[in-house]
């Protein structure tokens, strides 16, 4: 049985039942799941977790879902790679890559949707819904298929066909909204109030957001039950960023890892960096922006959790970065060339942000650092297609090969 007890307002603290609610009726602050900490404390141990499944559900004691309702696509327990070659290139001593490209629909969204869809099932919903331009829709469609639920996905009318495919294959209902990005926002916010659908990041958002904590749990466990000293994570709404920190804090509170501070560094693309801009201006007032970046998965101009992300940075002596689109591409290439991990543009933001954080002194290169790679590169192949190695054309003869190979700039000396 879940140890979730209620939803609590992050602003005024008022409590609400565990229902599909996301905003406090009194002050309109965001709601967050609250837990019976004593109950969790009495039950949770390293051994109990280690004996669980190799997925996010090994942490079910810490999630707002009862076991009978789990929608299981085997999400999570993704690799934590020691990135020695990339560390050397960046002048770091110990760098780890949390590779969440290995999830079932190739992004970290599977973590949040797994929890949201499971809780939605527990709440009696038959339909999962979302507004999305990519990763979220892919994951909602996949989880609905797995659960035997209906899926309704709202997309802007001008979304590229390739991005629709990753959802369409699971046969959801896809609604193409003839309007701007803001129009889709408004329509879905209204529908979430009027329809008995579980909009994963609207009316069941408090449960959805909880899934991100599993990233921190896994990292701590995979590091041998310890927290890293520093973290670099991409920021869109800011929710992932704050929940990663919360995850490390919880493990410390439950005595699963030793108490040690984790410095949280956020990464955004310059073309959509409202949180970093506020950080640099030393204000918690976030000014919404119109996104203009190749890092589409981070293109949230009005981030719902930006204020809380800023508070997390301040509390952890952290920081925030913003990188240009060419730097994003460089980041993707560096990660791929050094570590064999092909990330989407958000991963490029993370790696370029890591480099910027080192250059600006926000990160100590001698401390243990984890960088979170949140989505697979094939999702945003267009961003790098012009920048990658081109084939060497040859005829089917040895001479043709020898001539071309000798002149190719990237040719390597192959023994024998």
């Amino acid at each position: 049985m879940t140890y979730a007890t209620c939803l609590a307002c992050r602003e005024c603290g008022r409590e609400f039942p565990l229902e599909p609610l996301h905003v406090c009726d009194f002050c309109f602050g965001p709601l967050e799941v609250a837990y019976d900490h004593d109950g969790i404390q009495s039950k949770i141990t390293r051994e109990r977790i280690e004996s669980g499944p190799r997925s996010i559900w090994r942490y079910i004691d810490l999630l707002p879902v009862d076991e009978d309702f789990i929608v299981d696509l085997n999400v999570g327990w993704t690799p934590l790679l020691k990135a020695d070659r990339l560390a050397e290139r960046l002048g770091m001593r110990e760098l780890w890559i949390k590779n969440d490209t290995c999830n079932p629909s190739w992004s970290f969204k599977d973590r949040v949707v797994a929890v949201a869809s499971s809780r939605a099932r527990q709440l009696g919903f038959q339909t999962l819904a979302c507004a999305s331009t990519g990763n979220l829709a892919n994951s909602v469609s996949a989880h609905a298929a797995r659960a035997g639920m209906e899926a309704i996905v709202f997309i802007p009318h001008d979304l590229e066909a390739g991005k629709v495919l990753g959802s369409a294959v699971y046969n959801p209902t896809i609604v193409s909204v003839n309007g701007s990005y803001d129009d889709v926002n408004r329509l879905c916010s209204e529908l979430a109030d009027n329809r008995h659908w579980a909009f994963v990041n609207i009316n069941v958002r408090p449960y959805y957001a909880e899934g991100s904590r599993t990233l921190a749990y896994e990292v701590a466990e995979q590091l041998g039950w310890r927290a890293p000293r520093q973290v670099v994570a991409p920021m869109a709404s800011g929710s992932l960023f704050t929940k990663i920190h919360k995850g490390f804090q919880e493990f410390q509170e439950y005595g699963l890892i030793e108490e040690s501070p984790v410095r949280m560094i956020g990464a955004q693309a310059e073309g959509c960096s409202p949180i970093t801009t506020a950080w640099r201006n030393e204000t918690t007032n976030i000014r919404p922006v119109k996104p203009n970046t190749i890092a589409k998965s981070l293109a949230i101009g009005n981030p719902a959790d930006g204020y809380y992300a800023l508070k997390t940075m301040k509390r952890t002596d952290g920081g925030s970065t913003a990188v240009t689109d060419p730097e994003v591409v460089e980041g993707i290439q560096m990660l791929a060339e050094c570590e064999g991990v092909f990330a989407e543009t958000a991963g490029g933001v993370t790696i370029a942000g890591l480099r910027q954080a080192i250059e600006t002194g926000q990160i100590d290169p001698d401390e243990t650092t984890v960088a979170f790679i949140t989505g697979g590169g094939l999702k945003t192949a267009d961003a790098v297609v012009e920048h990658v190695t081109q084939p060497i054309p040859v005829e089917g003869t040895l001479q043709s090969f020898e001539d071309a190979f000798a002149e190719a700039p990237q040719a390597v000396g192959v023994g024998g």
Binding site: F28, R287, A299
Partner: protein
């Protein structure tokens, strides 16, 4: 009757205009402010609007034409 929860973001000269007062004056809409933070050249207000659905739409279109950004209280819900 309908209820809409929205966030107004004001920048520049829009901060100085009594936009919320005028919404209640010019339209059959009741405004109820729940949270706000306003600085000299920037501010946001989270409020509830009560009224006929179409009248709220008209009021919001008028507010937007004044240069005020309008968002759902939950922020952007369209994610990648």
């Amino acid at each position: 009757m309908a209820t809409r929860r929205v966030r107004f973001t004001f920048e520049g000269d829009a901060v100085k205009e009594p936009v919320i007062y005028l919404v209640g004056h010019e339209f059959e809409v009741v405004t109820n402010i729940r949270m706000a933070d306003v600085e000299h050249d920037f501010g946001w207000v989270v409020l509830e609007l009560d009224g006929d659905h179409d009248e709220i739409d008209r009021a919001l279109a008028w507010v937007e034409a004044k240069g005020v950004r309008i968002d759902p209280v939950a922020g952007d819900v369209v994610e990648s």
